[in-house]
């Protein structure tokens, strides 16, 4: 922690100076991460990821407990999307271990992650705009009849049920996704996760480009998930959005852990300040409340 004060503030310089170093000070912070009630669901340890010469994740630790809502924050390019893409099997880590429900797991594809109960709603359009709501919810997992054809009736019925369970009332399962509002699209993507009994739902920037009303809708979806005992990782760089729903907030900076704190032990101003500076600095003592 003391070391972190010496990290140069200049982005360029920092990339070069610490690019190949592990995140020593931040790792210490992560190990003291504020635990929340409940068992550990997902535990990612010392995750590294390179894209060519870009060291996008430099030894990140990340833990999610059962039924917990975790806000994952940090500036653009901090590595949030990369981290969750590792957790959802879209990227494989170059180094590090992943544990799910206590067992070490290897996630080689999104299929592996989904089989465990990890569902991800990606920042880049998670849906196919030209397809109906029902066909989107069941995409890649279409139920079939005895003849091997798609069981459209089951698909329609169950997709409307999944949407209703989140308080989302849409006119018809046949409606095309291109005709939905941004909030409704997030709802459809989340309904997909609910229907397939996810234990952990990861939302990458679900509130980006949404109106105030739609943001509120999405936050309601997150509460619905939590009420059903589903853990949620909610990525955003708008702290206000995550503060009202998250139990815990994790901040990444330049591919390292920066902060891991219970929401009730901090406030928006303090965290915004840390994210803006990209280092803990003086804020360390107040945000580090291990247990």
């Amino acid at each position: 922690m003391e070391g972190s004060a010496q990290v140069p503030a200049n982005d360029e310089e920092e990339l070069f100076d610490t690019g190949s170093l592990p995140c020593v000070s931040e790792r210490a912070a992560a190990e003291e991460a504020a635990p929340t009630n409940g068992q550990v669901l997902l535990k990612m340890v010392n995750i590294h990821k390179w894209f060519g010469r870009v060291h996008a994740l430099r030894g990140v630790n990340f833990t999610v407990h059962r039924g917990e809502v975790v806000g994952l924050c940090g500036d653009n390019g901090a590595g949030k999307s990369t981290l969750i893409k590792v957790a959802s099997g879209y990227h494989t880590a170059d180094e590090g271990q992943i544990f799910f429900e206590g067992r070490e797991v290897k996630l080689r594809s999104p299929k592996d992650a989904r089989a465990l109960g990890i569902e991800t709603v990606y920042q880049e359009q998670a849906l196919c705009p030209h397809l109906s709501i029902a066909r989107n919810i069941f995409m890649g997992r279409e139920p079939t009849t005895l003849l091997g054809l798609i069981d459209q009736r089951t698909m329609n019925k169950e997709s409307m049920e999944a949407l209703a369970s989140m308080g989302l009332r849409l006119r018809s399962p046949h409606a095309l996704v291109s005709a939905l509002s941004g909030g409704q699209r997030q709802g459809v993507a989340i309904a997909r996760a609910i229907h397939f009994k996810a234990k952990l739902v990861i939302l990458d920037e679900p509130t980006i480009a949404l109106s105030v009303k739609e943001v509120r809708e999405v936050l309601d979806f997150v509460r619905h998930l939590r009420d059903q005992g589903v853990a949620v990782v909610f990525i955003t760089h708008t702290l206000h959005h995550v503060f009202s729903v998250a139990d815990r907030i994790v901040v990444l900076a330049h591919g390292c852990n920066l902060v891991d704190v219970r929401t009730k032990d901090t406030d928006v101003d303090e965290l915004s300040d840390i994210i803006a500076r990209g280092t803990l600095g003086d804020a360390v003592p107040t945000t580090q409340h291990a247990r």
């Binding site: 959802s88 879209y90 594809s109 999104p110 299929k111 989904r114 991800t120 990606y122 880049e124 359009q125 998670a126 849906l127 196919c128 705009p129 030209h130 397809l131 066909r135 069941f138 995409m139 890649g140 997992r141 279409e142 079939t144 091997g148 054809l149 798609i150 849409l170 006119r171 018809s172 046949h174 409606a175 095309l176 291109s178 005709a179 939905l180």
Partner: protein, 326 residues
Amino acid sequence: MQRRLGQGLWLSFISTPLVFIITFLIFWAFSPGHRFVDPRNLAAIAKLTPDLGVVALGIGVLMICGEFDLSIASVLPLCSFLFAQLLIAGVDPFAALALMVPVGASLGLLNGVLVTRTGLPSFIITLSMLLFWRGVLYVVSGLMPISILPYVPTNSDFAHFLTGQVGSVPAQLLWFLGIAVVLGIVLHLGRFGNWIYATGSNPDAARAMGIDTHLVKIVCYMIVGALCAFAGIMQATRLGSFTASQGIGFELKAVAAVVVGGVSLRGGVGNMLGIALGVFIIQIIDNGLILLQVPVFGVNTFIGLAVILFVIINNLANRQFAEQTT
């Protein structure tokens, strides 16, 4: 609510049939002596359309998954040439057909693998293959037609099988409709069809949901290749010979037909009924304009205008559909 949804669906699926009927009525009314609806003329349309039509059905499916194939115009005559060579070598025509369909599919496989592996636009890859196979064909065939009549005479079983009549209906038309129905079932009722739409609509989302989009594209290319082989052989059987000019112009005509049938160039949009009717619309315009004594070279001008007009109509219908279902 139900009613509005019904209307929207109705509009998106009916726009191409409507255009088809209107085109048909126009030529009926204005062709000299109503020659357009003369049974002989209709029979000629029914026999000629499937040559392009069978290939266009595959192109429609491929374009829904977001890719192009310009190489069809060379793959088709190449398969026809190889078919003729097999016959000359003494292979039974049915066996030769059964051999050539997988060969066509392999040529499609090559396209698919090149497109998905290189990540280059399929327009470029298949344009190269169009030129490549054309060149190969010219070298191996020397541009000389090869008569296949000695091996498949007009009254042979094989000729009846591909180009005969069932009652008064030409066999070609039945093949075309049969293939359209099979592909329609795959596209609209099967799981693979949903993956085709998903791949064309948003490949990132499709991949994230565990769909192997590369495999989907490769299979679609293989369907196109197999249909090229079939169409090439069907055409050669009708003509009684392989000719090097087979397939010329198909690469663009197929796109025109499919687009008129309501398929989007950007993928994810289209249906099998529209694709099948699109082919007929193009052929009817072609045939009808000639009956109206429009000079052959002027026909393309009208087809060009018609394509633009129909695409505008389809776009309006699709937008209406999207709005009315929410």
